[in-house]
């Protein structure tokens, strides 16, 4: 497979470099705020035998005005299934379903209790200081149910800051305008961080539609229409206010509130030829998230308590104006409100430099209220959960042990214990090698929609249950003027009672526990940072092999889905980022690749719609920094889809060809 050759080549090349470069890495140009040393020491120990990916803060900085879906698809092993530019984007981590990726923001979970998933197209990269992926069972210290893994977004204070900020404006193709601003004010005892963004787009890119054709009555030839991506506009606005209080040397209080409103149209499929004012989809997402957090440090004890709310309101309308009529007629008008209240108390005690224990309790309440005005259907349900975790980290000689056990009590019912045990060997650390193994159990409760949605909700669903085994290694080498990192991880995870929504004979859909899925694969990531003379470079590459195979029982003699890859999960994904900086000029080149994705459970290839062909995306940006005294002005020109490729991540959802953005950013 020739695409695969590229990926392998990168890793081979990584080992073949003859002359390690001399100089500091690019990352030394980033201003990093003060970090609490005590907290960091514990966090480092907590990484024993875990698989994590920290997203490069330089990459995050270069994508401030973009969404998390664009960041994750281009720079991590996670597959983002995007329904179009600006449309809903869901994640598949290690070949699992979107609801198997947990998303945490400063202590609260952002997954909808109604749907179980997160729409990554709504999350602005510029609202987070750090993003960490926890692969597979590495996510268990944050919560259960993340069978694929979790994504954690965090922010922190810089206590040295007095006043600083950044304002960014961007104009891009298809009448897209983005504004983003950050203002940090504070003293050594109080810090305020305010961030806001505004993003709007007509998103009306043109495309020649190969999926529809008129017939020329004279010649009989097809005429494929050139059409606009109509009804695809968005307006997305948000504000985040964070306040950090240093009560004394041992106590910190943090309050955060994040409000966001997104109003967008959802374009129809490319084969649609209804009237232009037919089948118009409009979706409004409103959310308010707030967290208050108290951190206390005393000798070997640290206490973290937080309480947070996540309120979302989703309104979806499908409407049509029939020719000759003046008013639109609504066919669907659904309102879905969810309110989650999270409360957590986390105690960590360091018995010695080799032994640390953590005890955590979470009490959460989720309420979902949905109503569809045309069919008069909906539900109102509450879920109360109490989650317990006991975790121990133990270091003896060159061996590190990371063990935890979780238990949960949900709606009056105890669920099975979830143990996790990881062992890491660092005896070859001076040669740069570490190896680890990890095993865990996990399970995920059905979402409230799975249980109660009208029509189709199935209150008899069982939780999804899984085991997870990981084997990993890390290699680091510091050369005179460069640093090389390589991480390799293999995973194997059988999951029983996988929930799938299936059509029913009466025309609706209903969730069923139908599948046993074995998710297995390999994750490789490497980075090389250094410099040659005045040229600084940072090269990163990721590759992921994800086999998500249906091992369930055959439904029928003709069922060909057993032993096949789940629909819409690419087996191979890879990306590279090459960042070069020469004095104040920087060039970034990113490349990412997803292999073929099947659209059927049988992986049949009978027609072009049974599979989505593999695609490569190449983006390039050229930027220049200007110094204005202590302040900086950055200008950046970016080309997306450099080679003007035709590609899709979902059947019949058109994606734009080559497009551009120009961004100016002022920092002080």
């Amino acid at each position: 497979m020739k695409q695969f050759t590229i990926i392998l080549l990168f890793f081979i090349l990584s080992f073949c470099i003859s002359k390690p470069a001399k100089a500091q890495s690019l990352s030394d140009t980033l201003r990093i705020g003060q970090v609490d040393v005590f907290g960091k020491r514990i966090i480092n120990q907590q990484n024993t035998a875990t698989t994590r990916t920290e997203i490069d803060t330089m990459v995050m900085k270069s994508m401030t005005v973009l969404s998390l879906s664009e960041l994750l698809s281009g720079h991590t092993p996670i597959f983002i299934k995007s329904y179009g530019r600006g449309s809903m984007a869901s994640a598949s981590f290690r070949g699992t379903a979107p609801s198997h990726t947990a998303v945490h923001w400063n202590g609260i979970q952002l997954n909808s209790p109604m749907l179980g998933m997160v729409d990554f197209s709504l999350l602005p990269v510029g609202f987070f200081d750090e993003i960490t992926l926890k692969h597979g069972s590495s996510s268990l210290d944050q919560g259960e149910g993340a069978l694929g893994g979790s994504i954690e977004m965090r922010s922190s204070a810089n206590w040295d800051n007095r006043i600083s900020g950044q304002f960014t404006a961007s104009a891009a193709s298809f009448s897209t305008y983005d504004f983003w601003g950050k203002l940090n004010l504070g003293t050594s005892r109080f810090q305020s961080k305010t961030r806001a963004f505004w993003s709007q787009s007509e998103n009306n890119f043109s495309f020649r539609n190969p999926l529809n054709a008129d017939i020329n009555p004279e010649t009989g030839n097809y005429i494929h229409p050139t059409q606009k991506n109509e009804n695809a506009d968005w307006l997305n606005r948000g504000i985040l206010q964070e306040m950090y209080f240093r009560i004394n040397e041992n106590q910190f209080l943090t309050a955060r509130i994040w409000g966001q409103n997104t109003d967008r149209s959802i374009p129809t499929l490319a084969t649609n030829e209804s009237d232009s004012e037919s089948l118009m989809n409009r979706q409004t997402d409103q959310s308010v998230r707030s967290v208050i957090q108290w951190d206390y440090y005393l000798n070997n004890l640290s206490v973290h308590a937080n309480s947070g709310l996540n309120s979302t309101n989703l309104n979806y309308i499908l409407k049509t104006r029939i020719s000759g009529e003046t008013n639109f007629q609504e066919y669907i008008n659904s309102e879905s409100q969810s309110n989650s209240w999270f409360n957590a108390l986390d105690l960590k005690y360091r018995f010695s430099n080799q032994f640390l224990m953590e005890l955590k309790n979470e009490t959460n309440r989720h309420q979902v209220n949905t109503f569809e005005q045309r069919s008069l259907t909906g539900y109102d349900q509450i879920r109360i959960e109490n989650l317990f975790m006991l975790k121990a980290l133990y270091q003896i000689s060159d061996f590190g042990l990371n063990g935890l056990i979780r238990n949960s009590w949900v709606d009056g019912k105890w669920h099975p214990l979830i143990p996790m045990l990881g062992l890491e060997y660092s005896g070859w650390k001076h040669q740069g090698f570490t190896v680890f193994a990890r095993a865990a159990r996990n399970f995920r409760l059905p979402t409230l929609n799975d249980l109660f949605y009208q029509p189709g909700g199935n209150p008899n669903l069982r939780p999804e249950k899984g085991l997870s085994f990981d084997l990993g290694s890390g290699f680091s080498k510091q050369f005179e003027r460069s640093t090389f990192h390589l991480k390799a991880n293999a995973f194997y995870s059988p999951i029983n009672d996988w929930i799938v929504w299936l059509p029913t004979y009466y025309g609706g859909w209903e969730p069923q526990n139908v599948k046993k899925v074995i998710s297995s694969g390999v994750e490789l990531s490497s980075s090389l940072m250094g410099s040659v003379n005045q040229l600084k470079y940072n090269i990163q590459a990721n590759y992921s092999l994800s086999n998500s195979i249906n091992h369930g029982e055959s439904l029928h003699w003709a069922d060909e889905s057993i032993g096949k890859q789940l629909p819409y999960i690419p087996r191979h994904s890879a990306n590279t980022l090459i960042s070069l900086q020469y004095e104040r000029i920087n060039l970034n080149y990113s490349w990412n690749y997803y292999s073929q994705r099947f659209t059927t459970t049988s992986n049949q290839t009978l027609n072009p719609l049974d599979e989505l062909y593999a695609y490569f995306m190449n983006d390039v940006s050229l930027g220049r920094e200007f110094r204005l005294g202590k302040n900086r002005l950055n200008a950046d020109f970016r080309v997306f889809n450099l080679f003007n490729e035709t590609y899709r991540t979902v059947l019949q959802r058109m994606m734009p060809r080559r497009n551009y953005s120009f961004t100016i950013s002022y920092s002080f």
Binding site: Q3, L9, I12, C16, I17, S18, K19, A21, P210, L211, N212, A213, I215, N216, P217, G220, L269, T271, E273, S274, D275, S278, L279, T320, I322, S323, R374, S375, L376, T377, P455, P503, Y505, Y506, V514, V532, I539, L555, H556, A558, D559, S561, T576, I578, L580, T599, T600, T601, L606, N607, P608, L609, Y613, A614, Y615, N618, E645, T646, L651, Q652
Partner: protein, 374 residues
């Protein structure tokens, strides 16, 4: 192999440019090969999956027992669209209604070539063709019947169908809190057109085809889903009864008989009584060649005589969940489809009128509607 660090990024960059994506035309051409099959046959419309746009059309040669799948996309290099709902044969043309693409494709039944289309529809379900210049299209959302010129004024000259909308018959029930009346199947008897209002409804609407006005509505059970016309010009209507916890309410599935002359409706069967309380599902009506025996899906396939409507088991389920059903209008052979998990190729079974298996063949995803080519 030793490569200088200076050339390393350049090598990667150059390599990346050599591999480009495939494009749609190249992709479609990979699948464009098909031998046309003369003779009598069965078109099978496969719905595909909602919002996937992967509907397809299959053709089964009845004499040779051979099936060709994806015939529309293979011959025409175009996808059929999103949710193909029904097919109507008119002379040598097939009208395939693509529900969630708002259009109806017109196809030559002999060579499967696309000869034109009717576009601009909202959520079309069925088409009933009066003549070359007039047809009716039912619609799930529009609460009206759309009147169309199915072929356009130049069809006889150009052989390219350029259908267009010419009018509407309003069906809207302003008094209901539900979106009534959606329209489904269209059955013409003389100058009357009957349509069943399925979703959150219980009416059969009657339209005068000379004046294009609604002249009557007939109440039946909840959610009339399927209709057939018998030899005596009576309509048989299957009502699915709605779903559990529906705000419109739920009642046992039933079958009604309606006189197309005086519009009187009579509940003939209540399925949980006539079949038993173990009835798990029921769907679809079909009628035999002499139009005196009605077949329907109910824990397998059952049938009854129009003169003595007591259902008998024609075919036990034996683990099959039949998704759709048709009966050959010449031989009375029965075809029943199973969609398996609804996301892979479905199966169609062919039985004699005595229930003896004749053939089994695979078609596209979600086989849901049928039409016979003479």
């Amino acid at each position: 192999m030793r490569i200088s660090i200076k050339t390393y990024p350049i090598v990667l960059l150059v390599l990346a440019t050599f591999w480009s994506c495939m494009n749609d035309e190249e992709w479609a051409k990979r699948h464009q090969k098909l031998d046309q099959e003369p003779g009598r046959g069965l078109f099978v419309v496969c719905e595909g999956n909602f919002m996937f746009g992967n509907a397809s059309l299959s053709f089964y040669n009845i004499d040779k027992k051979e099936v060709q799948n994806q015939i529309f996309s293979k011959v025409n290099g175009l996808p059929l669209g999103d949710v193909a709902h029904s097919i109507t044969i008119y002379d040598t043309l097939a009208f395939v209604v693509i529900n969630n693409s708002g259009k109806i494709y017109v196809i030559n039944t002999l060579n499967y070539q696309y000869v034109g289309k009717i576009t601009g529809l909202t959520s079309p379900r069925y088409i009933e063709i009066m003549n070359d210049r007039k047809a009716y299209v039912s619609d799930l959302y529009a609460q009206s019947i759309t009147i169309v010129d199915p072929l356009g004024e130049n069809f006889q000259k150009t052989r390219v169908a350029q259908g267009k909308i010419t009018g509407r018959i309003d069906l809207k029930n302003k008094a209901s809190k539900f979106s009534q009346h959606p329209s489904e199947q269209l059955i013409r008897v003389g100058n009357k057109l009957f349509t069943n209002c399925w979703s959150y409804d219980n009416q059969i609407m009657v339209i005068d085809t000379q004046t294009d006005t609604v002249i009557d509505s007939i109440a039946v059970g909840k959610q009339p889903a399927s209709m057939v016309l018998d030899a005596n010009d009576n309509l048989w209507v299957f009502c699915d009864g709605g779903y559990k916890n529906s705000p419109y309410g739920q009642e046992p599935a039933s079958i009604y008989k309606i006189s197309t002359q005086n519009h009187l409706a009579e509940k003939v069967l209540q399925l949980n009584e006539s079949i038993g309380s173990n009835l798990q599902y029921a769907a679809d009506l079909a009628i035999n060649a002499t139009r005196d025996t009605v077949y329907f899906v109910a824990n397998g396939i059952r049938r009854f005589s129009i003169y003595n409507p007591l259902p008998e088991l024609f075919l036990p389920a034996n683990g099959e969940i039949f998704h759709s059903l048709t009966v050959d209008p010449i031989t009375s052979e029965v075809y029943a489809a199973n969609a398996i998990d609804y996301t892979q190729s479905g199966v169609v079974y062919r039985f004699s009128s005595q229930g003896i298996p004749i053939d089994t063949f695979r078609v596209g995803i979600n086989p849901g509607a049928f039409a016979f080519r003479k």
